[in-house]
Symmetry: C2
Subunit: 438 residues, 2 copies
């Protein structure tokens, strides 16, 4: 190392800004295994409590980004645009918007992660499609994008090794909850994908990591700031996650919902209205950022036309086939149970994080990274916020290949639902839009 | 572990108070090597920035104290009292006060450390006496106290292993500078010595770790708080360290100064006035705490009588002999150089930390824990703060067995000395006294 590790740690501890060179020296030494975990742990805690400056967060992102392979798609003439969501329950817009946007002559190089805590992950959902492979190398990734305009794969080990190593340490040192470190982790991975622009879906509410609108806006602004410093155009939608998105939660069930929307099943636009609307808004924003529309509104119109023309569904089937998946073989659960609530009135609140945790109980997610997932496990919600409920009517159906956790899951969900006599006001799905770069 | 390590780290990170059980679980797991360094490092940084509560600092002290052997001297009828100094340049009062207090029928079980940073350590000074052994086990320690009423040894490996392990980690994670952790480290070691009462010499000024009076007072109050919670009587003197204490800095030279005071050489009380006064004040306070005097003033009178009777010198020679030391064989430096300053006027400021660092340069202390010390290396100051200087008059003489670092040391010292035309006001040596317990 060029610098003394303790000097760098002390500077952050004292709330002083590090230089780009110091950050790059410190992170580089860590990746090269020259800096021990305990010095990085002390620095991460200091960075969490004292808060890195926006400039430091960008330098950190850039250093992590360049710790591994950075994809160069500049030889592909199309605009390259991806979407990142901060995660929620029933959040499955990627599977709808990617084929739509790919049909608008925009390349969508999508690298996704697995479920994190109560929130699902796109990779786990794709794994529910028998044969669908997401573990592809960068050569195959590029070929898919050239041939199909899109690809949906997992992160390769060569992308952002610094982020992988630091994230694993954050997980065991109570330093996950730092906005600056979260932003650097997200953006380093996205900037490594070889994209020109990025759309962010920053969620807030009972099922999101950010519980309040102002926290979500703050996070979005930080993410945008890093993207813009990295020379990208970045738009963020701040979307409500006070209830699951759509009606299906759980891997195969979520694929079913996406297929229904992509296939334009009669009434799917109404049944899954929030998922339908958010997917089109995100797709429209990507089309606008790709200069295929003069405004987001026009972008959304184009996205809607593509969806209703059936092209997006064709593209979805095409990519499934290209990545080896057999969508007709989607597994079905062996067991199901209807869940009722012993009250009459309107649903006023859903503890959506608890719904996510109930999903983990029945096998739709992992408690530990070594747990295996039951792809059929999940919930289909018959009622959502503002809907009328009564004791005779099931509010949801649980699905899984084992009934062993149905009781505990039911209790978790029912305890988190609040019913009131009067019909509550519904908050808007998209609370704000923030744009950065040009 | 009973608790989740990340839960404990997160609690401190969030500024919430841990329970005694959580602290003991966390520290216990660390000593047992069940908790990795990186989790302790993250916690130490959170504890430094968020500041432990006084209650937590006490629980931490108590846990560290009981991580190893706790000496029980309850079968020794005398009061057991030690002194702890926060460290400074030329600070050598231990060697004067211990024999005085031992002559007042008080047991002085003194366990000391080595030099730390710019500040000297009693063990290094004792090592300058040929044959003097400080690496004694607890059995020999007890025997010395029974036979001679005092002993001066180094910490045994069985005392506070938690402090040793945590201190080593703090040193490499920029978490040394936490008052709460400093206090827990000091007090756990002192409370393990089997003492009833403790006198603290908390120093402030250019040569001390605490640069201001208010910081020193704050540290003293925290140390006293922990001691009182542990059932001890603790008195603190807040003493000035804006210049070296006495005139001699360096291991053998400091022993010579102490011998001169103990032997009551003519004029030693004037030549080394600050060391003479502080040693008697500290000794007097110990005599008062040991109930051998009704007031500190009376204690100081008793200490002065013992010193002037020659008993303290006899006791010093006795303990030297008992611990194998030959005071007549004190080594002398092969080289010396007088240092002058090219100005006329009065000394208004001395950068005492720089004097300490200059001492390290010439071999009186260690840069790295593996460095060897030149026991003869050091400085004798002919002028102190407020003294008149002129270019013809040496302000100090440097001594060492090698002249190789004389230039750099001279530069360091001279650069740190400010001379002014008018005679400056002298600050009082003892700025405050604080007492705790009953």
């Amino acid at each position: 190392m060029k610098y003394l590790a303790t000097e760098i740690i002390a500077k952050t501890r004292n709330g002083q800004e590090l230089t780009e060179d110091q950050i790059s020296d410190f992170i580089g030494a860590y990746v090269a295994e020259e800096l021990p975990d305990y010095q990085m742990a002390a620095w991460l805690m200091a960075a969490l409590i004292k808060k890195l400056t926006p400039q430091e967060a960008y330098w950190l992102t850039n250093t992590m980004l360049h710790s591994g392979e950075v994809i160069d798609f500049s030889d592909i003439a199309k605009p390259k645009i991806d979407k990142h969501s901060t995660g929620g329950v029933g959040d499955k817009t990627s599977l709808i918007l990617a084929p739509i946007v790919a049909c608008a002559d925009i390349a969508v190089p999508m690298m996704s992660g697995r479920g994190l805590g109560h929130s699902g992950g796109t990779l786990d959902k794709l794994d529910a499609i028998p044969g669908f492979t997401t573990q592809l190398d960068l050569h195959r990734f590029r070929k898919l994008i050239e041939d199909h305009g899109m690809a949906m794969i997992g992160q390769t080990p060569t992308i952002c090794p610094a982020d992988k190593k630091i994230y694993a340490l954050r997980d065991v040192t109570a330093t996950v909850e730092s906005k600056e470190l979260i932003c650097a982790s997200i953006m380093s991975k996205k900037l490594a994908e070889g994209i020109d622009s990025l759309v962010l879906d920053v969620k807030f509410g009972s099922g999101a990591f950010m519980k309040t609108l102002s926290d979500a806006k703050d996070l979005a602004e930080r993410l945008i700031d890093i993207g813009v410093r990295g020379g990208k155009r970045v738009c963020a939608l701040i979307s409500n996650m006070d209830q699951p998105l759509g009606r299906n939660v759980g891997n195969a069930l979520e694929i079913e919902e996406c297929v229904s929307i992509l296939r334009c099943d009669g009434g799917a636009d109404m049944l899954y209205a929030d998922n339908y609307q958010l997917s089109l808004e995100l797709a429209g924003t990507m089309i606008f950022l790709g200069n295929k529309a003069d405004s987001v509104e026009e972008g959304v119109d184009i996205a809607t036309s593509i969806l209703h023309s059936g092209q997006a569904y064709e593209k979805f089937l095409e990519i499934c086939k290209a990545q080896g998946g057999d969508i007709d073989a989607l597994p079905k659960a062996q067991h199901q149970r209807e869940v009722r609530i012993d009250q009459s009135g309107y649903i006023a609140e859903m503890n959506t994080e608890e719904i996510g945790r109930a999903g983990i109980e029945i096998g739709a997610g992992r408690k530990y990274s070594t747990d295996t997932i039951d792809p059929t496990a999940g919930f289909v919600f018959h009622s959502k916020l503002g809907d009328k409920v009564e004791p005779s009517k099931p509010i949801l159906t649980m699905y899984a290949n084992s009934t062993s956790a149905f009781d505990v899951a039911e209790k978790r969900i029912v305890n988190g639902i609040k019913v009131q006599k009067s019909k509550p006001q519904q908050p808007p799905l998209i609370a704000a839009r923030i744009e950065g770069g040009h």
